[in-house]
Symmetry: D4
Subunit: 231 residues, 8 copies
């Protein structure tokens, strides 16, 4: 049947061009489950809409496999591509940071792809961001050594798999709200992220809001909203 | 063995008197699973700590059954008691509201106990709050009629059981972050709140942070932090 | 042991040739879990039964991988093949549409394979069908813009992953029954479609019947029965 | 705080008075999780709206405990009350039956409360209905003896717990769509209705739409829509 | 470290040579999770034990991938290999059938690998066996047409995925016990066999014993014991 | 609405009077979920059918609460009532034992109600039965001391909660098939019988058929069929 | 049927009198699921066995409701009864403490019943024990203040519900092994202890062994074995 | 973005160099979810830290795929690599064994990778260790033949999939604590290790501490702590 590449977006997708106006944040394209051709077609439509002045801000392409990324870069060669975070941004220039500082605390190296997805999202949504890696509760001194960062943040993103305990520990030390992102990292009884998800939902310290497993984009987006400049 | 009533807090609990200083918010006592005698002992300790100037702000007693409430009121007769929300506050005077407005949107009447727990929490943590009840997505016009409130809020608490769809719908209409509180309301396949919990974690609109099932206190606390005045 | 290709259907499968008479709808062959050789053998038996006048209507081959499709097309070269929907139909001519209109609403591009499987099924079961893609509740205006289609349909198929909230929202706007097809699209806590499945089963608006995850064929079949012409 | 009885619906609920116009079916009040006082307040509001001509058709009160029923009957003494089905209807006069026949097939006596809830719902939504009880697949002859009823129905509601196999068996014998209502009846590994729910979602015969566990109201409502007279 | 091929069974496995004497049935080697080298080493040890007269009866190699099969056939070139059932037997000569007839009823073609594993197991444990394929309850006439076989069997193995309803239906028609083998065949909400597993455990007709998902070997073994000749 | 007591079985239940002829075993009435009045009505119908010679053998009333039992005994005063097993039988005379011996092995005292339900069922289905209590694998010598009983049984019923390990251990020692009945006995992570259910389904020794959690009736019925006299 | 009180242990239970010799630890009677009469019968048998010198050490009665406790105390009036821990011990004299110190760390007051069950078990199995209550990670300073106790323990029992994060945090600070006891304390998404159970199994610090939910006895027993004096 | 190979550990990981001092055991690197480049960078940092005298003892690299192993060996060519156990150790010289004997009992050959991971861990943490393979409860004599080993061990690691029954059986025979490691070996209803996990948590013999599914490293570490020499 009709080839996505030549057919434009007819029957594939519909851009939500009023979103930036309606919600204050630009569009993101979730690549998983889409073919590279479909993603390319969306990239073209975004490029055209941008050229026509119908949208503002940089769009993000999340969960982009190597094939997805190649398809985007073919259409938008100047897009920024973070391979670890599997995310692209276009137009490539991020806005000037405004609002409060967002700290992104990443429990272990295996959680890094999710943390980097959050960092890129925060950057393109316009927040000043600081990333700390390998700060799991197994070595509590590493958390305690960051009390200053915790105190200065307007929002904190905690990215952790396994027991997800970092969310509770950080929330207990912080004034700022914690956005918890469980990851699918861990042995079998982590059940693909269920263990840290439940742990974070049950954080014994209040002040933790949980997003979907491995959803660094969602965690970054929520933190960007929390730390947005107040008018 | 030793009677809690006469033994003070020895072997029962330890107050976290530095919490207000450390985190900026006062203590809350989770009554479920504690005996009324234990709750009364904690109430006495709080009263004494307050008299000694060792703590500030009003403490909350959450998930208080009728027996728990009676035990608290015996010790602290001037405590405020919201029966629907199963929550007490003492000292009874709430702080002057500061920070941004928090809208609490309650999908159905059966979700009201959880929504009221959130409202009382927000009130005693010092935020201006507005509650709307019976605003489920089955009658979408009821949601759309509140666009003004959605636009003016600094944080939005959505309380919903069943399909939990209100969180997605509201997030898609809002600049502000949404704190989603799933409830255990619904037929069998809601599995005591699992259905709205998963639905909210999978909200197709970004900007939703989820707390525990029926945890109105946690939802209110997180929203209060988000809407806190920025220094 | 015996080769399926040469052995006919002995020990592999048994056609249900009375099904069209008994139920009013023709046979469908579920390819997943069958070898291409087995599918080819079934295709040959269908061709022979058709030649012998033992069956009427077009058979569908669902969940057909590229290998399955190639095996079918080797036997039935004029079969219609929808690659996105992973489905083939033979004989290729669809019946004239009768009965009420069926609207197929597809929440996102990643849900498209399931939606197209429903559309092809509806077409070959003889219903007039209209497909709308990318109509998720995150941009509610896209749903509201289709109120006319919703009002004119005799049955509505909603295909959605993630929070599955589209089913509730549409049911709340419609006279017609909604057939909800959850998909396995989404981040980890979608648990391969469990989240939208539960959400749809708990739709706060009545009038939603749910079929299996990713089962576009089943959703299309049920909607075709609902919208069948009444005698 | 404010007493529901005297406060009207302020802060408790909001009637969806446009629902009959918007969707074609009147309001239903889900009593579970509401206090009897809250239900009484809603009953009063419905009575007043009816007196003011603001609504048409009979409202249903579902999942009504004995206390809920007493509260409704205090306000609306002429309401019809089906104790087995835990459901009330007011005004008590059901509409003249129109549209196609709906057969309600109830697998066992223990499933009867759910089946009766469906029958009362169908009656007040205006469909001709026939109930058959104790027709489980363990005695297949009991199902086969009802082939005539199955053939004459425009929609079939199957109510079954345990293995839920009745839905598949009936769907395989019917032209009409099957609305499957799993019940929480059965030994431990039924897991409160999970077993028949999954079984019905996986029905090997197409044409089955599933609603929530024990949701006789939902099953009846969907079947009423399917069997509605076509204009 | 030590190479399995040259090390015999030291540190890899220990044959249960007394099993035939203790339980009356020979050894089976579960290949999944073992390397082909490990399986070959076990095959060699069996060959040696057989040569030494230390064991009797044919051993089975179950869940054998192509690599496992090749490894076995390298050591035991005259082993019988059923590719569909992924099972090998050696020595190749099956015992003379004794005891009662075992009927193996296979719901669909996709369940055939599991059914064939059961048939081969039954054959090598010495029972007369009859296999019927594609006898799902969606076409009930296909089941009813086999009442004679059902009546003449001493044990019945039912192999089914999806709704697993065949187990209930057959048990309701039979004197003989039913051994139910759920399979992982089906759409998403089958959850890899959970749906038919629960359905079979909840069979509304008594007389069903359930074994593990896709465990044709286990189903065949249990049926062979049930239908064993009584002394 | 109509009172069950006076209405006979109209709209409540339908006796399966051909079951003894069709399957060889008499009717059983599952009381859970039925009102005492409904159970009494069924008891009366059975009494009348028996008086009319329309049925043979003793019927069983399973899962009978004290209220259910009282209702049955009011109608059938000579029924036998095993309070521990929550089961009644009428007419009270059990058949002469025929077929092979069935051993019922009960892991712990807390599992006794389920084991006794199995014993009564076996007795009224006509098998010689021997019960052993408190034979858990924590004290393996207690199992090994029963090797003679294990060797002489034609079928073995294992009733166990917690780890359900007794099924594997006994199957590894037995020629005869094992019918495993998991119970809901145990600490939290037994999840109401899920732990022993899964353990028994995964028994590393073949020859185990599993029935529903706490289903002593089902376990006894299956064992009675296995140990039935062969013609 | 036979009355437990007069029948001794015939058909109810069998004491494992060799357990102390075989394993080194005395018998425990799990009361849940047993009737008070059955528990009394076991108490009498223990008393008789003790009088006959057939057993040594104090037996424990765990999970004893008020009725169970009364039944035990009627037979063994000098038994020690810890009401909070729902546990009794007889003979009442505990052995002299030997082996290493066991620290029992209890996250919150609601976890106290489980912690006290562990303490009593440890005491009667002969270990020196120290209990600390209300040491959750929400106030990390409370954990850090106990570093000395953590350093001096030979085994540490951590009792926690909700996020169960205390196990990871303590393990990361300790030389000694941690025995983690999840409790069923918490809001809905704790799912009766599943959340802390999974969290503890996924502890990012090695050195944590997990026992069943709410199983203070099991946790105490395991810790007593770990801290046993080495010969 | 920055290449891990050249960037050192900046933004990737942070070594916990005080762990040996703090906890008494050296660092382990969990390779799953890390890229080979990241693992190589960590290996280099460890080499440098060792050269600088900043750490002692051998580090372990666990869950190392072939690519991970190659990356480690490129940096640390003299590392010991156990391919079956997917684990490497460096520096290669293990400490002299001290403390009590640890027995590692492996139920089946398919569990061997997990058991070997435990053995290597124990060896490098300094415990004398003895491994027994293929000792499942299906052949109980194989367990009983090892009573001497069970009696002489200071800790016992049980590695088992499927029913996990070996943990209960061994605990019932042992003075020493049992560390239970469930594996993901087994048919479908093992649900990737859930079945043995639950079985082990519900062991009817006390004295079992459970670690994560397939976590041989965790099991070995905990056993090494239990069997550590007491000062």
């Amino acid at each position: 049947m009709a080839d996505a590449e030549s057919a434009g977006l007819q029957g594939i997708a519909e851009l939500d061009l009023t979103r930036a106006a309606r919600r204050g944040y630009p569009e993101a394209v979730y690549c998983a489950g889409k073919s590279p051709d479909q993603v390319a077609a969306i990239a073209r439509a975004l490029r055209d809409a941008h050229a026509a002045g119908a949208t503002t801000g940089s769009a993000l392409f999340t969960r982009a496999s190597a094939d997805h990324a190649e398809a985007v870069l073919r259409v938008l060669p100047d897009a920024v591509h973070d391979e670890v975070g599997r995310i692209l941004a276009w137009p490539p220039r991020a806005p000037e940071p405004t609002g409060g500082l967002v700290a992104v605390l990443c429990a272990g190296t295996s959680d890094l792809p999710v943390a980097r997805e959050a960092v890129v999202t925060l950057t393109y949504l316009g927040r000043p961001t600081e990333l700390v890696v390998d700060i799991g509760v197994a070595g509590l001194h590493r958390v305690l050594a960051r009390q200053d960062l915790i105190d200065s943040a307007r929002a904190i993103v905690v990215v952790a798999g396994m027991d997800g305990a970092l969310a509770s520990v950080v929330a207990g030390l912080a004034h700022a709200p914690v956005v918890a992102v469980p990851t699918s990292v861990g042995y079998g009884a982590a059940f693909e992220g269920l263990a840290p998800l439940l742990s974070m939902l049950n954080a014994c310290a209040p002040g933790v809001g949980v997003v979907n497993i491995d959803n660094g984009y969602g965690g970054g987006h929520l933190a960007a909203q929390i730390a947005a400049p107040t008018s």
